[in-house]
């Protein structure tokens, strides 16, 4: 019997009224359904076509070469990123976040194996050379691979510097003549591959171990950096512009991420190199507080002193008043304070028992 009492709905102690839960559910489904379908039919949903490496190659061919050179010579962001993709360039990682010694980014090692020279340049070019039976390209790749590291770096540096003076003529990137070894040919072919639209496929093929195309990691990592950033900036999508919080203009975005996005607008989220980690764990702590609210002393009593519940249950409190429930109550003054006064709650020892309506049905 004791166990039964545990599960009894204690709200049965109150006077009850008729209520049709099934009808409420179906009416609610009807309202929401009609509203959603009408709004969807009128406004549609936001959509902005994805950007491809092909588009970037056609619009900003120098940018594609600069990205590819950064991947080849190790100066690019992803080449030196660090976990979970790699261990940086020659063991020096650029993007490891930590709060003191707390660096969860390193816990998993490097499960995704991104070695950018091969992933983004050598492998796609090798595939291109094989597919098109391109002997000069094959020779160039062999020359590059066979050269000493110092020699490779010299060619890379020369060509990277030359790209700063490059011009685009008839869609081709023209650089001053210099000591580029096989790198210039390789970059011209990398650009041609990107322009053809096949570079993304080659990059994704690498990520997916040569089979299905679910994992677009390398394609996106090649695109990211300047290409996507420049575009995102024009539509206010960058982190410091509340980026993720909004969507295509005039449409509501993921506004439920507002607290999270807000933390990126203020220090240390906006300034620290470990901003992401700080923001993530701040949100985790705040969410923990929300979940555990019932158990947090003080916070769990907060709604009692805020006057909002008086508005929510105003009918109930009004009813107590109109039925004169407090007529014989020695603590009627406290009752009034509780339900009508400013933010003053009756002290715990002043409990007006006359408010208990559980015995009378009406």
């Amino acid at each position: 019997m004791i166990r039964k009492a545990r599960f009894e709905r204690n709200t049965l102690r109150f006077p009850q009224k008729d209520f049709d839960m099934v009808k409420e559910g179906i009416v609610s489904l009807g309202i929401i359904g009609v509203a959603v379908v009408i709004v969807a039919a009128i406004f549609g949903a936001p959509y902005r076509p994805a950007i491809t490496n092909q588009e970037i190659a056609n619009q900003k061919p120098i940018l594609v070469m600069q990205t590819a050179m950064g991947d080849l010579d190790g100066q690019g962001e992803m080449a030196a990123y660090g976990p979970p993709y790699n261990n940086g360039w020659h063991g020096v990682a650029q993007n490891i976040q930590s709060i003191g010694p707390f660096s969860p980014q390193t816990w998993w090692g490097t499960p995704y194996h991104l070695y950018t020279p091969n992933a983004d340049v050598i492998t796609p070019l090798t595939m291109l050379a094989t597919a098109s039976n391109d002997t000069p390209l094959q020779a160039a790749i062999q020359t590059y691979n066979a050269a000493s590291y110092t020699q490779q770096q010299a060619w890379d540096n020369n060509f990277t510097n030359a790209l700063n003076k490059a011009t685009v003529q008839n869609g081709q990137v023209v650089v001053p003549s210099g000591q580029y070894g096989p790198v210039q040919l390789m970059m011209n072919d990398e650009l041609a591959l990107a322009k053809s639209g096949l570079l993304s496929g080659a990059l994704d093929r690498e990520t997916n171990n040569g089979v299905y195309r679910w994992n677009i990691q390398n394609d996106l990592l090649f695109l990211q950096g300047p290409a996507l950033h420049q575009y995102a900036k024009t539509i206010d999508m960058r982190g410091g512009q509340w980026g993720i919080n909004h969507d295509e203009q005039a449409y509501p975005g993921p506004w439920w991420l507002t607290p999270y996005t807000f933390l990126y607008q203020v220090p240390p989220g906006s300034t620290s190199p470990s901003g992401d980690e700080i923001v993530a764990y701040t949100i985790a702590i705040l969410f923990g507080l929300l979940v555990l609210l019932p158990f947090i002393p003080g916070l769990n009593k907060l709604p009692r002193v805020l006057p909002v519940h008086r508005a929510i249950w105003r009918d109930w409190y009004k009813r107590l008043e109109t039925t004169n429930a407090c007529a014989s109550c020695p603590l009627a003054t406290s009752c009034n304070k509780e339900f009508h006064g400013p933010m003053t709650a009756a002290a715990d020892h002043e409990i007006p028992a006359c408010y208990d309506q559980t015995t009378s049905v009406g």
Partner: protein, 206 residues
Amino acid sequence: MNWTKSMRTTVTEKLTWDNLLPSEQPIYVSSLVYSFGVFTLSSLVFTIMSGVIMAAYGPTWYQYSAAGAFFRSVHFWSVQAFFFFMTMHLVGQFFMGSWREGRAMTWVLGALSFGVSVITAFTGYLSRGDFFAQWNQVQSKDAFNGAGLDGFLNILNNGQVYGLHIAVLPLILIVLVGWHMVAVRAKGVVPPYQAVHVQKKEGEKR
């Protein structure tokens, strides 16, 4: 302890028709605030229904056909309605102090549902296949990496993100929401403030 017996007792006592589908409510249930929960649930139903149809036909369908675009819109606005009503529900229940009188678990389950919903919606955002999906993938990779979540969630792997969005996370959400609703029904809706204190005082008398 006999787990079977214990489970049977709990189920038969908690999950009675009287609890699950009551035909009466305490008279203090008289506010729009009480409707936010059921509106949240209705929006979730439309989110799931439109989502199931989209998943059945696949991403290319909802990106490149008129019918697909329509269901994508229904899905989008259902999600907007879902988060709107869920937020209103959460705020309302906070002001009602709805964790009182043994309802702490109801609150915890509700708050967890909110968290899982945010992650589910985010993986959905990444499954749109448009510029916003691309951009948020490359942006949030740093966030996921910094938080140390990268080892089991490669945000750049569409297969993983899409799988989480259409199967794993909804399943977790449905279990949490279902459990939340059973908890609400088993305990009944939270009584107004003050009634608590009356009850406490009665307890002291006994």
